[in-house]
Amino acid sequence: MRTQVPVAIAFIAGVVMVIQFFVPTHHSMALRDTLLAWTRIISAFALVVGIGSLVSINISKLRRLSPGWIYAIVTLAGFAVMAVFGILGTKEAAAPAWRHTLDRCYQWLFDNVQVPMDATIFSLLAFFIASAAYRTFRARTFEASLLLAAALLVMVGRVPLGVEIGAKLHEAIWGGSTTAPVTPEWLQSLTEWVLNCPNTAAQRAIMFGAALAAVAQALRIIVGIERPYMSGS
């Protein structure tokens, strides 16, 4: 019951989805659409489980008064306010006015609290990447030099000032001659070429490996060799 049933469920669900792809009849597509609708609903509960874990971790932190418990209060308060406003608030025209007000509060919190905090915390990475580039990006070997060269080329070739500098160089060398072997936008073209050719080649080879691994993993899940759904329960 605890082991065989989930293995059987994964097997049947997986096989049905594979079969419907190769046998796209009216019935198989209707079955597919029903299963997809069910999966969307079930996936929503997975999100709730994630949020529930976060809340329970913070509650236990608060109960034990472990270090940083004061921040657990902030997290739980932020969670409660946003959840209540979001769940009780609505935009539906037929709803009472107080629910519209709560909806506006929910939108306000999103625009003026969640958005700036999320955007700012992510933007801190700009400073750390600059610092990391200064401290660790060293051309110690030929391979590292190649990596450095490509990075510098993209950094110069993908910004207007870099392309402008390239155009000025072009003018200095060829003086606007129509017989020049490259265009004034040569730096941008070169960057595009790097992305389109050597980069595409390497990324494609990585993609082959990842795709084959993903297919193998999916097969292992369907036949029950791999059972990720058994963990954590």
Binding site: F21, M29, R32, D33, L36, A37, T39, R40, S43, A44, A46, L47, T90, K91, E92, Q107, F110, D111, Q114, V115, P116, D118, A119, I121, F122, S123, A126, F127, I129, A130, S131, A133, Y134, R135, T136, F137, R138, A139, L148, A151, L152, M155, V156, R158, V159, P160, L161, G162, V163, E164, E185, Q188, E192, L195, N196, N199, T200, Q203, R204, M207
Partner: protein, 285 residues
């Protein structure tokens, strides 16, 4: 010119100290470099790249009132890069009198759809439900994308305002990918892979993407195979699209700062390498 061992060792100490400089000085230099161009613009021209131009040309040729779907698969953390793209593409669509459908596979993207469409359509008098609609978020990723192929209304019974699908003029005659001119996925995650697999390959939907700079390089193979019609890469991609639509926005505002910041990072990398080499050279004795 010859150096005494003491002078050489002093020089080396300088380079060693330079390598261990308090990182907050680097933070300050970068911040100043980003801020200064807001007061003294460089005025460099943005030259659109081919992947951006291909998407622009495709949308430009769509017939009037053809629906375009934009998937907002990002949250506020990446909005600085992707919101300008959304606004630029939406503005182009509105100018061409195309209908816009906003969806998202990322819960944090749900409230960004309306803001972007309102901003783009404000000056053109475009109205919600008439010219655009936000269908909001559905969980499941690939399950949602594959489901749209079976019927957009089976996945989104109502829009994010709670209005039933059948009562929304912007969705009139839209059954599935067959009725959508192009799907543009704006993403900060692996969502473009999902759209490729379950919209492009399964239903032959026309597809393009706009992604954060971190991800651009990984999506070029799809461009070469034609699975993507075009790609917008990072804030520069947004600036390029704004240039093509002749409507400057947040993308172009940021390009001067972007240029200066890149030059600062390049200078830092070079300085770091010089310091590393110089500090390794010992006094000859």
């Amino acid at each position: 010119m010859s150096h005494t061992p003491d002078a050489a060792s002093g020089n080396r100490d300088f380079w060693v100290r330079l390598q261990r400089i308090d990182r907050r000085w680097i933070f300050l230099v970068l911040f100043v470099g980003v801020v200064v161009p807001y007061f003294t613009p460089l005025g460099c021209r943005v030259r659109p790249s081919d992947p951006t131009r291909k998407l622009y040309d495709f949308i430009d040729k769509l017939p009037e009132r053809k629906p375009v779907m934009i998937s907002f698969d990002y949250g506020p953390g990446s909005a600085a890069e992707l919101d300008p793209m959304a606004v630029a593409i939406a503005r182009h669509c509105f100018k061409k009198n195309l209908r816009l459908i906003g969806v998202t596979l990322d819960p944090t993207g749900a409230l960004l759809i309306r803001k972007a469409f309102e901003k783009a359509g404000k000056d053109l008098g475009k109205k919600m439900h008439e010219d655009w609609v936000s269908l909001g978020y559905k969980p499941g990723g690939g399950v949602v994308v594959l489901g749209i192929g079976g019927g957009l209304d089976t996945v989104f019974a109502t829009d994010s305002e709670g209005k039933p699908y059948g009562e929304i003029p912007a969705l009139e005659g839209v059954r599935n990918y067959d009725d959508i001119g192009i799907v543009v996925d704006l993403a900060s995650s692996a969502a473009p892979d999902i759209w490729i697999r379950y919209a492009r390959e399964a239903f032959k939907a026309n597809l393009a993407c706009g992604v954060t700079g971190v991800m651009v390089a990984a999506y070029y193979p799809y461009l070469q195979t034609g699975q993507f019609i075009g790609i917008l890469g990072g804030l520069k991609g947004a600036a390029e699209y704004e240039q093509l639509t002749e409507a400057p926005g947040d993308g172009q505002i940021g390009m001067d700062s972007q240029s200066v910041a890149h030059l600062i990072v390049i200078a830092l990398v070079i300085l770091g390498n010089v310091a590393s080499i110089a500090s390794r050279r010992g006094p000859r004795g």
